[in-house]
């Protein structure tokens, strides 16, 4: 029950102090925001930090702001803040829909979008939507600020492009493109705390589809071959969807684990792709089902 591992806890009041604290002890210090992954990992001795740097004192990271063509989500924004944000609902509803199925209310009250990205778990619910939107992850470190495209962010299970001396400060989502509609579908063993067995995020604009999967590879992944055969929503038909479903086996590489078998994941990914694509196309043309409707 108790955490056996001992560590020092600090709570800096400005970003510069946080970066300095992280740089002082590279690889041995870890950043704490919501803690819903981190505290569990420390309990299990999966990570053994010497210093835990709580960034909840950095109030400028709490905001969701629209700055021109970019929607910026700070590192302390929780999933429930995302769900309650009118900006998120109206401008990036695909991310909104994915936030509604993350764990459960008490976890979403605490867990942050950025923490979900930093944990880098292949089934993370924010991966597919942010890949589909072409989001950018903003990191700060001793060498200044750098921006990393979502497609370059995930390197493997629990491995990301962030270096040990860097802190993610925000996620930026472009909102300047043509009108879009999305659909996120998550398959779990039960509703509530469970992680995805398969997830799919589809973004549709009049120019075409973006399709991303979660929990069916070593990272969340885009499916460019599927996007190519789907073409544009206006000319979507059954034949194209069937062709896209056949390509699923080329695009994803699921494994068998405690949550599902490889075969089940492969089968469900095809079904979820069809529903996701059809729903995103319907939503783009202003028809139901409403965002948040359970599709599986």
């Amino acid at each position: 029950m108790a955490i056996a591992h001992e560590f020092e806890y600090i709570k800096p009041s400005c970003l510069a102090d946080a970066i300095e604290a992280l740089a002082r002890n590279p690889g041995k210090a870890t950043v704490l925001a919501g803690g819903t992954d981190l505290v569990g990992w420390i309990k299990e001795d999966f990570i053994t930090p010497e210093t835990v740097i709580d960034i909840k004192g950095l109030s400028q990271l709490r905001e969701i702001t629209l700055d021109g063509d970019t929607l910026r989500i700070g590192a302390l924004v929780t999933f429930n803040q995302l769900i309650e944000s009118q900006l998120v609902i109206q401008r990036i509803p695909l991310l909104w829909e994915s936030a509604t199925v993350v764990a459960c209310k008490p976890v979403r009250n605490r867990a942050t979008l950025v923490g979900n990205l930093c944990s880098g778990i292949p089934c993370c619910d924010s991966g597919p939507p942010l890949l589909a939107y072409g989001a950018t992850i903003v990191v700060d470190g001793p060498n200044g600020t750098r921006k990393i495209a979502a497609k370059d962010w995930f390197l493997g299970p629990r491995r990301t492009a962030r270096s040990a001396a860097e802190i993610v400060t925000a996620v930026e989502v472009p909102v300047s493109g043509p009108e879009s509609a999305g659909c996120y579908i998550k398959l779990g063993r039960y509703r509530g705390e469970d992680l995805a067995q398969v997830s799919v995020g589809v973004l549709a604009t009049k120019l075409g589809f973006r399709v991303a999967f979660g929990a069916v590879g070593s990272t969340p992944l885009l499916a460019p071959k599927i996007e190519a055969v789907l073409g544009v929503p206006d000319s979507l038909n059954e034949a194209k969807i069937r062709e896209a479903q056949e390509l699923v086996e080329e695009e994803i590489s699921p494994i068998t684990d405690v949550r599902a078998t490889l075969e089940y994941r492969m089968h469900m990914a095809k079904i979820m792709l069809k529903r996701g694509v059809e729903t995103a196309a319907k939503r783009l043309s202003g028809r139901c089902p409403a965002y948040g409707t359970r599709l599986i």
């Binding site: 108790a2 955490i3 020092e8 806890y9 505290v39 569990g40 909840k56 009250n109 705390e193």
Partner: protein, 156 residues
């Protein structure tokens, strides 16, 4: 290294000495005498350790006590300081729980829902308690009770 933090627990401001690696759940139970939040899975899955932190339900097993310095915490003890409230009365009437281990966590989740949404739909109730595991009842009497008390409160 021990540090003194200040928590307002169930309306009473209290100082408590904690280690950085003490979880909030441990401190509530072992150092502050609040035995309502239970140790279930101790990894964030079951919801029986839920408390309200600054008005929002959280998993106390996934929070370091030291993070909550200066916060207000309400556990099940603080939700019914004068004995069972209307929600608990309906739970009892409907025999909504059997072993009762999940009851403190479910009551916290239900109270958060009713505080923010006095007229929830069945879907709202299911979503609100989706992070609470009950291994006895199949949930139906619990969901029915939360809906029943919301209708009763409305008709007052």
């Amino acid at each position: 290294m021990k540090r003194s933090i200040e928590i307002t627990l169930n309306g009473e401001k209290r100082a408590v000495e904690v280690e950085p690696n003490d979880t909030l759940l441990e401190v509530l139970r072992e150092k502050m005498g609040a035995k309502g939040p239970k140790v279930g899975c101790d990894r964030g899955d079951c919801g029986t350790c839920n408390v309200l932190l600054d008005g929002m339900s959280v998993r106390s097993c996934l929070i370091l006590a030291i993070e909550t310095d200066g916060s207000e915490i309400v556990s099940i003890e603080g939700l019914c300081p004068d004995g069972p409230g209307p929600l608990q009365d309906v739970f009892v009437k409907n025999n909504a729980f059997q072993c009762g281990f999940c009851a403190p966590g479910i009551t916290v989740s239900a109270m958060e829902l009713l505080n923010n949404n006095p007229e929830p739909t069945r879907e709202d109730v299911v979503e609100a308690i989706s992070g609470n595991l009950c291994r006895c009842t199949g949930y139906t009497p619990i969901i029915d009770s939360i809906l029943e008390v919301s209708k009763k409160e409305k008709s007052r």
